[in-house]
């Protein structure tokens, strides 16, 4: 069963710079998909188009059998799309408990809060009353962003470079988070360059220059990937080696 289908999705900036060019993609329900590719290839734009933050200049988006192209962010969120930002937003006054409860859409008992925060390696006692403001480190706020995504219990969760800014210890627990989501049968899309995240994917999508240049099972795509990515970052790198 298909959870998300992108049909000929294009996106141009207001300055008419083309970011995505007729991207077509079908994601199967319950699969763990990793989208990778060079910086500037359109990965974050793709996530923003799926969650409704940006509107495509062409094409249609179908989620769970419904055309959501004309729906706003709120409507898409309520249908079950969750987007964990690459750079989490800080709020003066809102606490970790507040944001987790907003994500869950209900009051959370302490043991429930504890459950979500434990998964990202944070102690609920220390953090639930903390404000999500500048007092949190980059790693802490990133973990809270991931816990917030978990609290959504969404049909499709998109993580945008979840490894960015987190330390090695958190990275290990992050892999655990993704493995737990897979076990639960959740549909997950992760934007990442990390080899260890690519290694646990069901499927890998390579996005470069606004196009899907490869999409297939990990076993097929992964072995070819490293050379291509190197080339994309620095075409002369192999010559030098």
């Amino acid at each position: 069963m298909i959870v998300l289908e992108l049909k000929g999705i294009s996106f141009q900036t207001p300055e008419r710079r083309e970011i995505l060019n007729e991207v077509g993609l079908r994601l199967e329900k319950g699969k763990f998909i990793v989208v990778t590719g060079p910086n500037g290839g359109g990965k974050t734009t793709l996530a923003k188009l799926i969650s409704g933050i940006e509107k495509p200049s062409g094409g249609r988006i179908v989620f769970d059998g419904r055309d959501i192209t004309d729906m706003d962010i709120t409507q898409r969120a309520r249908l079950g799309i969750c987007y964990a930002f690459q750079q989490p937003v800080r709020f003066k006054g809102l606490t970790v408990r507040d944001i987790l409860e907003l994500a869950a859409g209900r009051f959370l008992r302490e043991e429930e809060l504890c459950g979500y925060l434990m998964e990202v390696g944070l102690c609920a006692q220390d953090y639930m009353g903390r404000e999500i403001d500048a007092s949190l480190s980059g790693g802490e706020i990133k973990r809270i962003e991931i816990a917030t995504a978990l609290a959504r219990e969404a049909k499709l969760t998109i993580f945008d470079e979840p490894e960015a800014g987190i330390d090695l210890w958190s990275f290990n627990s992050l892999i655990g988070v993704f493995q737990a989501l897979r076990k639960k049968g959740k549909s997950v899309m992760v934007i990442s360059h990390q080899e260890r995240i690519l290694a646990i994917a069901d499927e890998i999508v390579v996005l470069a220059d606004g196009k899907v240049v490869r999409h297939g099972p990990k076993a097929e795509v992964f072995p070819t990937l490293l050379g291509e990515q190197k080339q994309s970052f620095c075409p002369r790198q192999e010559e030098r080696i």
């Binding site: 969650s51 933050i53 706003d72 962010i73 709120t74 969120a77 309520r78 969750c82 987007y83 930002f85 989490p88 937003v89 709020f91 003066k92 006054g93 809102l94 606490t95 507040d98 944001i99 907003l102 994500a103 859409g105 917030t148 959504r152």
Partner: protein, 305 residues
């Protein structure tokens, strides 16, 4: 106590009836109830309207309520309340003022409070201001607070004005002796054509004295806010003031900090930030399923919490 007073008391003091312990309830410039406790005595002033609140040395953990309510238009209330907090006492003062108007005439409450805080005494002062009623008469609250804090004393003021007050001018003056501290947390929201002026002036006179003044505000509609803080560092001391405002619609917010150091070890800091709600904050909450309006309300609630 009339019905409006009872409602206002709930809003400004969280009271549902008369409290236990010491209290003085002021209703339309008259006393609507008073009680002393074993350690806290409340006496009527004889030379001018108001009361003296006298807290005995060593009093621990007691709360004294002194709310003031105005329940109709055309009241001009002026009151002088003096607090004498003896050495080592640790008390909470719940003040607060509610002004209700139904008619065309303005109503005003002007509370002049003086705190004399003794050596090593600790006072938590909670003050909430609110305006209610559908009258066109303006609801005006102009509090003045003057504090003298002796060695090792601590005053924590937590003040909030969230709705319904058309005009306010809040003046706070403080003089701190050795190792004394003053902590102020102020929250203000204005809308429509309301105006709010905050004017802090703190003299840090004693070695090791310190103050932390933080104001968070939201200005909506065509309202105007002015935040002015002056800290004088006259000794080895530390002073910090912060004005953090969200501006919306056609509002106006001014922040005027003034720091004067008269000692080489006076460490004084001011921070001021005025800006609209960040678009990314609204977008983030919308991705959690809130509408744009719900997201905006949540951000403001959190900011002023």
């Amino acid at each position: 106590m009339n019905r409006i007073t009872q409602k206002l008391l709930g809003l400004v003091s969280g009271l549902s009836g008369r409290p236990g312990g010491a209290y003085n309830i002021r209703e339309d410039s008259r006393c609507a109830g008073r009680q002393n406790s074993e350690h806290i005595r409340i006496e009527q002033k004889t030379d001018k309207p108001g009361i003296d609140i006298i807290v005995r040395a060593g009093t621990r953990g007691e709360t004294v309520y002194i709310p003031a309510c105005i329940t109709h238009s055309a009241v001009d209330d002026l009151v002088y309340n003096d607090f004498y907090i003896a050495e080592g006492a640790d008390v909470t003062v719940v003040a607060g003022c509610g002004v209700h108007t139904e008619g065309e005439a303005d109503s005003r409450h002007n509370g002049i409070h003086r705190f004399f805080i003794g050596k090593d005494a600790h006072v938590r002062y909670l003050e909430k201001h609110i305006g209610t009623g559908g009258g066109t008469g303006k609801r005006i609250i102009d509090p003045q607070t003057v504090c003298e804090i002796a060695e090792g004393g601590l005053l924590e003021m937590d003040t909030a004005q969230i709705r319904g007050v058309d005009s306010t001018k809040r003046v706070t003056r403080a003089r701190l002796e050795r190792a004394a501290r003053l902590v102020i947390r102020e929250k203000i929201m204005t809308y429509g054509c309301q105006s709010a002026v905050t004017d802090f002036e703190v003299e840090l006179n004693g070695t090791g004295s310190g103050t932390d003044l933080v104001s968070r505000s939201v200005a909506r509609g065509e309202s105007k806010q002015l935040f002015r803080s002056r800290i004088y560092g006259n000794a080895a001391c530390s002073g910090h003031s912060e004005c953090d405002a969200i501006i919306m619609d056609g509002a106006e917010v001014s922040a005027i900090p003034e720091l004067t150091a008269r000692h080489v070890d006076a460490a004084l800091i001011h921070e001021a930030a005025i800006g609209k709600i960040a678009g990314e904050q609204i977008v983030k909450l919308m991705t959690l399923g809130l509408t744009e309006e719900q997201a905006e309300a949540k951000i403001i609630d959190g900011f002023l919490k």
